[in-house]
Structures are given as C-alpha cells and as structure tokens.
C-alpha cells in the first residue's frame, strides 16, 4: 500500500506552486478571448490567386479598419477580425478588395457577435461555473449526509475543483504565449466538463472513504483516507486512462473547431485525477483531524503510520 497521506504536505505545496505560476501567467499575459466574449466580426477571405498580406492590411487600414487583425492561414486565405461589421460594411469591404486585387474574394466562416451580446455571454459563463460549483456542493452535502459534517466533503471537492480550473487556466495562459488558443464557448464547455469530471473523480474516492468510515468507526481518518485512496487507485487510473485515450484521439485526429475544448479536457482529466488524491483527500484529513491550524502554521502534522 502506498502511503499517500504521509506526503500530503508536498502535494499541497506542489499544487500551490503550479497554481501560483498559472495565476502569475494569467495576470501577466492573460488568455485571448474569442469573438463570443469580445464582440466583433471574424471571417475568412479566400482569393483565387496569391495575395500579399501587407497589401491586404493596407487595404483594410485604408478603409478605416486600422485595428483589424489579419492572420494568414494559407497562400490565398486569411482570417480577418474587426469590430462588428454591418452588411453594408461587409459589402463595401468586398467591393474595395475586388477593385484592389482584381477578383472578388469568397467570404466564409463569418462569425459576428454584437458587443452587448458578448458581455452577456461572458457574464453568463461566470454564473454557469459558479452555479455548477454550488449545485455540486449541495448534492455532495446531501450524498454524504450519513457522515458527521458532510459539508466538509463538499467543500474539499470544491477546493480540488477550483485547483483544477486554475491549473487549466494557468496552463492555457502559458500556452497562449506561444500557441493560438483562446477562450470561446467551447472552452467554457470544456471547463464545465472538467468540473464535472473532477468532482466525479473526487466523489468516487470520497464514496470509499464514506463506506470505510461507516464500516470502521474509531479508525483515524488519515488511515481510512489512505486505505480508500489505495482501494480506488486502480479505478481512478483506469478511468482516466480510457478517457484520455478518447481525448487524445480527438486531439490528434479531430477537427480544428473543438481543439480548445479537447485541450482543456486533456489538462483537466490529468489534474482532476491528481487533485482527488492530492488535494481533496489531504484537505479532508487535515480538516477532520483538526490539524488545520497546525498545518498552516507550518508545523509538521501528526504522522500516522498507514495500516495494511
């Protein structure tokens, strides 16, 4: 049996550092936000012939779109991002480009969101994450009602969940420095799925703790938790592995539209599995054994040798 709880200080320290680095990156660089959250128009322009990016940029600047973001995707096509354009403005751009480059570009993959709707979406995304978290605490408190202080189980699961969300955000902030990632509706979907997954994984471990606590009254919580983690370890790893298989398949073979989502899931599954063992469980032990104060006063917590 592996003594997981003996090293709980290191897990919490490690996770703390990872989360801190993530937050620093998040604050320093941020993650670019997609059209859903910023508002504006994004579209793909496709020409028959090769078109110079500088010339295209000049043409957009000439039309007054000096802050247009122009990104080349292949020799003849570009993704353009501008503030929200009306139909007339799109028509004007189209005819100006036709005059300039001698052919009418095909406009595809238009995505336009008005600024008012965008800020509404952003607000609702935050609410959704919050409501999901609250809903889960309530359910977990109910599910663990046979135990003393079931509320603690819910809170520990939420802390693990927050840890996972922060890690995903942090990793995305780090990735966004080099890679083309952004926060869009699918990213939020991914975050909410990670929340579900993280709690799901914690619930399985806590379920075993619940069962073992009820079966063995009087045994110290640290022993019960450690025993329970060992018992559920195979399941945790196997489920993560099988889910990772499908997520990896989607990442490597799936279309570009869901790449952000898949990336969130990939990071989320790993940290979701990790956090059940290394965040939620140690916290529960510290809380239940009443060593909260001591733990945070950096006094080495009472070591209880693992049984079995």
């Amino acid at each position: 049996m592996i003594d997981f709880m003996g090293k709980k200080k290191w897990y919490l320290l490690g996770s703390g550092i990872i989360t801190l680095v993530g937050i620093i990156f998040l604050l320093a660089f941020g993650i670019p936000r997609g059209i859903e959250f910023t508002g504006g128009t994004s579209m793909t322009l496709k020409f028959e012939q090769q078109v110079d990016q500088g010339a295209l940029r000049g043409e957009f600047a000439g039309l007054g779109y000096t802050d247009a973001v122009i990104q080349k995707t292949s020799e003849d096509s570009f993704i353009i991002r501008t503030p929200l354009l009306s139909d007339q403005e799109v028509a004007t751009i189209k005819s100006a480009l036709t005059a300039k480059f001698g052919e009418e570009p095909a406009i595809t993959d238009v995505y336009a969101v008005s600024p008012a709707v965008a800020s509404e979406i952003e607000g609702n995304a935050a609410i959704a994450v919050l409501v999901a978290a609250i809903g889960i605490v309530i359910y977990m408190t109910w599910a663990f009602r046979k135990l003393m202080k079931p509320f603690r189980y819910g809170v520990c699961a939420i802390v693990a969940l927050l840890h996972d969300v922060l890690v995903v955000l942090g990793v995305f902030a780090i990735l966004s420095v080099g890679l083309n990632v952004e926060i869009d509706a699918m990213f939020i979907t991914g975050i909410l799925t990670v929340i579900g997954y993280s709690v799901n994984d914690t619930v399985v471990v806590f379920d075993r703790i619940r069962e073992n606590t009820l079966k063995n009254p009087g045994v110290p919580i640290v022993t019960v938790v450690n025993y329970s983690i060992n018992e559920t370890l195979a399941r945790s790893l196997n489920t993560s592995l099988t889910t990772l298989f499908v997520v990896l398949a989607l990442l490597l073979l799936g279309g570009a539209t869901i790449q952000n989502f898949v990336l969130v899931m990939l990071i989320g599954i790993i940290t979701g599995t990790y956090s059940s063992i290394s965040i939620a469980s140690p916290l529960l032990v510290v809380w239940e054994s009443g060593t909260f104060g001591r733990f945070f006063r950096r006094v080495i917590p009472r070591r209880v040798p693992a049984r079995g």
Binding site: L84, L85, S86, D87, Q88, T108, D109, V110, Y111, A112, V113, S114, P115, A116, V117, E120, I121, N124, A128, V131, A132, G135, I136, Y139, M140, A143, A185, M186, I188, T189, L192, T193, G196, N200, V203, V204, D207, E211, A234, R235, N238, T239, L241, T242, T243, F245, V246, V247, L248, A249, L250, L253, G254, G255, A256, T257, I258, F261, V262, M265
Partner: protein
C-alpha cells in the same frame, strides 16, 4: 437460468435489434439519416434582436410570433429545408439555415421586406444648375412639395417620361429655399434643365377610402421567371382588393412611371403601358435577387424591424451571425468520426487486456450503449454537432467508468474469497453508490451547461454538448447496471467461463 433472467435477456436482445434497425434504415419519420448541425453540414446561424418601439404595447409577444412565422415561410419558400427557428427570451429570434451563406441569410431573414407602389409627385421643378459628381445641393426653380425622406428621381421630363436611359433615385436629406440636399449624390450624368420630381404613395379608392397599394395586397404565390430578353423577373399577383387598387392606379398612370419600392429603396420603375388589374412583374435585378425577393414577398413583411441593440441604439444587422462552410463541415465530420472510432477501439482493447472476460462483456455492453445512444439521437432527433460528437466520445469514457467501478469491486470480492456468483452481485451493489453519485454530479453539470447554452444564445454547440452528455450518462447507467450485469449473470452459467484467471490477471 430463471424466468426473469431469460425475459431480461430477451428484452435487451429486442432493444438491440430495434436500435440497430433504426440506425440501418435510411428514413425515420420522413427524415433522412441523422440530423446534423450547421458546423457539420455548413450553413448560417443568426440571432436577431427586435425593436418593439413600433409595436402596440401588450402585443409584443404576438408581433414576435408573427415575425417568426413570416421568417419561417420565407425560408421554406426559398427552398431550404430543415432550418431551425426559435424565439429566445422575449426579444430574440434565432435562425439556423443550412447551406446558405451569411450574406444570403441576413438578406432573407433580416429585411422587413415591405413592398409598396409609388407614383410621381408634380413635376414642375426643374434643375437649374448642372450638378457635378459629389454635389449634394441642387438648385431647383421650386422646392415646394419636397419633404425630407422623399425619394427623388432625376432625368424625367415634364410629361413624366424617362428622358434618358439613366436615372437615379435619391432620398432628400433637407430642403431649404430652392436648395435640396440629398443624403448622397451621383448626378454626374445629369444636365441642367432636367426635371426633378418625388415619389409619393400610389393610392386607389376602396369603399370611398384612399388606400396605399403595398405588399399586403399580394397573394403569396410570387415566382421567378424570365422576360423576353431572358432577364430574371419576379411575377406577382394581387388579391381582389389589390387588383381593384392596381387597376385604378395603372389606369391613371398610363405612360407614366410606377415606382416599386422595397423597404423604401426603389427596385424598379417601369412605365405603365396599359391598365392592368391583378398581375404584374418586377424587373431589373439578378437571378439571386429575384429569388430572394420572391421569397420575401411570399413570406410577407415583418411586423417589426430586426437588428441588434447597442446600448439604447437599435442597429441593423444580426446580434450574432455564424457561418460555416459546407466543405469545412464535411471535413470536421469525417475527422471526428475517425477520431471517435480510433478512440473507441483503443478503449475496447484496453478493457479486454486489463479486465479479461468481464472486459470483453463490458465491450459488448459498450457497443449496445453506442447503438442505443445513436438510435435515440436519430429518433428524437438530437442534432449532432462537433460538440455533441465530442460529448459522445467523452461519454464512452464515462460509460466505461461505471464498468471499471464494478469490475474493481468484483475483483476485490473475488480476492476476498467470495464465489463468483456472489462476487458479481456484491460487486454491483457495492459499486452502485459511487456510480450514482458520480453520474448525478455529471448530470448537474449537464443541466447547468444546457441552461448556459440557452442563455448565451450563440451556442447551439454548448446545448448539443450538454444534451448529448446528459443522455449519455443516463444510458450508460442503464447499460452498466442492466446489460453488463445480465451478461455476467449469464456467463457464470457456463462452466468454462468460471475459471478465475478469466477475471483477474
């Protein structure tokens, strides 16, 4: 094998046969194949906000319902099937139209499309100065009778005949003395001395009441045709009131122009040759424009304008427009299916390698799961999007989880020396709380995601994901608890399958 056991097996077999045949047949309830979202088949998704300021207080709900019905008619008359229309909240309309570009879709849906007929106002004003390109002011001998927002026509002589091959209609921006300014001016082709006149509503009399002839009096049977020179035209027909008005107006206007306006823009101004009553044509546009106009006329005019709000300002254009190219959609579909199959195969192999015989049974149960889920999607139908494919693939992982939980318990019980039959029953009952709790938390997330999807309007993607995952969670509980269990119970009846090495490595 007990009676109940046999019946359960039979029901599962029947269910599988049913699901597979649902998937095998081409059409279910008249629909062809699976219902695919715009991101997989290409098309445009629009969300419009409405402006109720012109609508009578208290009848906002009716107005938006009427608008929805009109848009639906327009889209159907345009020849597009399987579009989706929804009213979101109180003041938003969401439209998904497969296979059309964003440009076509916004014109088809977003325009009010109020058609009306106009005639020339007194033509005594004469242009005094030659206007050059870019001029906005033109001196006329008498500016009387012109009002702001009048649409003026240049190049028509005192008899009301078109004098030149070229004419231009412009809106009057302001009138001051004998100066008329226009909201823009392209008068380079015009000479001094040409008359200027304005369009006024063409009216007729019914029951001693003066009535403006508009698109309201059209029958919804406009169609696109070609004239003698093979140019596209839109044929229209009036109802009886309209025919009466039209006949009176055309009788009065023989030899004079009749202006046909759509949303205050002049689209055609033919000269009336003879008195006509019930039928007419509109010319002077491309085939696409003609097709669009015919659909709009058949659908009717919207009772309120569509656009989007920015603060207190109501602007033209949709609040959300999203267009996916059909080829990109097909490519995404293809890639996702391959990714799904590869992922599934790896999971199946892993399960068999790690859990041996139960793993194999779980695989069969997983295939049953896939068949039931896809059959539900086809029957309901649940629209498949990239996100719902991702959810489907993810739910495979979650479906496996229930099995993994059970088998780990099964192995534990066997290690503890329980006989196989007992170990199986104990494995299921011990794993149940964990399966229940973990699935319910996932369901909570799904419900909130779905709600989030309805709120953020831009995301049928999110709703599709939540719905697929939610259905997946429920079906996976069923397959793990019923199907896998009955398979295991059946297999223990076979003596050869009782070897414990088949259960744990």
């Amino acid at each position: 094998m007990g009676r109940r056991h046999k019946i359960t097996l039979l029901i599962i077999a029947a269910l599988v046969v049913f699901c597979v045949s649902v998937l095998a047949v081409d059409q279910v309830w008249g629909r062809q194949g699976m219902s695919l979202g715009l991101d997989l088949r290409g098309g445009t998704h629009l969300v419009y906000e409405v402006d109720f300021s012109g609508v009578q207080a208290g009848s906002e709900k009716d107005a938006i319902e009427v608008a929805r019905g009109i848009i639906e008619k327009r889209i159907n008359r345009y020849g597009v099937s399987e579009s989706t229309l929804q009213i979101i909240g109180n003041d938003r309309i969401s439209v998904q139209i497969p296979g059309v570009t964003a440009e076509e879709a916004t014109k088809l849906v977003g325009t009010v499309a109020e058609l009306d007929f106009r005639e020339m106002k007194g033509v005594d004003a004469t242009l005094m100065e030659a206007a050059t390109a870019g001029d906005t002011y033109i001196n006329v001998s008498s500016a009387a009778g012109f009002a702001v927002n009048d649409t003026c026509v240049l190049g028509i002589n005192s008899q009301g005949m078109v004098e030149k091959q070229y004419w231009e209609a412009k809106k009057v921006a302001s009138v001051s003395g004998t100066n008329i300014s226009f909201d823009s001016a392209i008068f380079s082709d015009h000479q001094a001395g040409e008359p200027l006149s304005a369009w006024i509503p063409a009216t007729g009399t019914i029951d001693e009441e003066k009535i403006h002839l508009t698109g309201k009096y059209l029958l919804p049977n406009c169609y696109v045709g070609v004239d003698q020179t093979s140019l596209p035209i839109v044929n229209f027909e009036f109802n009886s009131d309209g025919a009466q008005l039209f006949s009176e107006i055309t009788a009065r206007l023989i030899g004079k122009p009749l202006g046909i306006f759509l949303d205050n823009d002049l689209i055609s101004a033919p000269t009336v040759q003879s008195q006509i009553s019930d039928k007419g044509i509109i010319e002077g546009m491309t085939l696409e424009e003609a097709k669009l106009l015919a659909s709009q006329l058949n659908g009717g005019a919207l009772p309120l304008p569509l656009g989007h709000w920015e603060g207190d300002e109501f602007l033209a254009g949709p609040a959300v427009a999203q267009n996916v190219d059909a080829t990109l959609g097909a490519d995404s579909l293809h890639k996702s299916i391959i990714a799904g199959i590869v992922g599934l195969v790896i999971v199946l192999l892993f399960m068999i390698a790690y859990y041996r015989l139960p793993g194999l049974l779980a695989c069969v149960a997983l295939l049953v799961y896939g068949a039931i889920l896809l059959a539900i999607f086809k029957l309901v139908p649940v629209t498949m999007t990239l996100a719902s494919i991702a959810a489907f693939v993810l739910s495979i992982g979650m479906a496996v989880d229930a099995n993994v939980l059970i088998f780990e318990r099964l192995k534990e019980e066997m290690r503890a020396g329980k006989p196989l039959g007992t170990a199986i029953e104990l494995g299921f009952s011990r794993a149940w709380p964990a399966i229940r709790d973990s699935n319910i938390t996932t369901l909570i997330t799904c419900i909130i995601l779905y709600w989030f999807g309805t709120k953020i309007i831009a995301a049928p993607l999110v709703m599709g994901f939540a719905l697929t995952l939610g259905i997946g969670v429920v079906v996976s509980m069923f397959t793990a608890l019923i199907v896998t269990r009955i398979f295991l119970r059946t297999i223990v009846l076979i003596p050869l399958a009782k070897k414990s090495s088949l259960y744990r490595p």
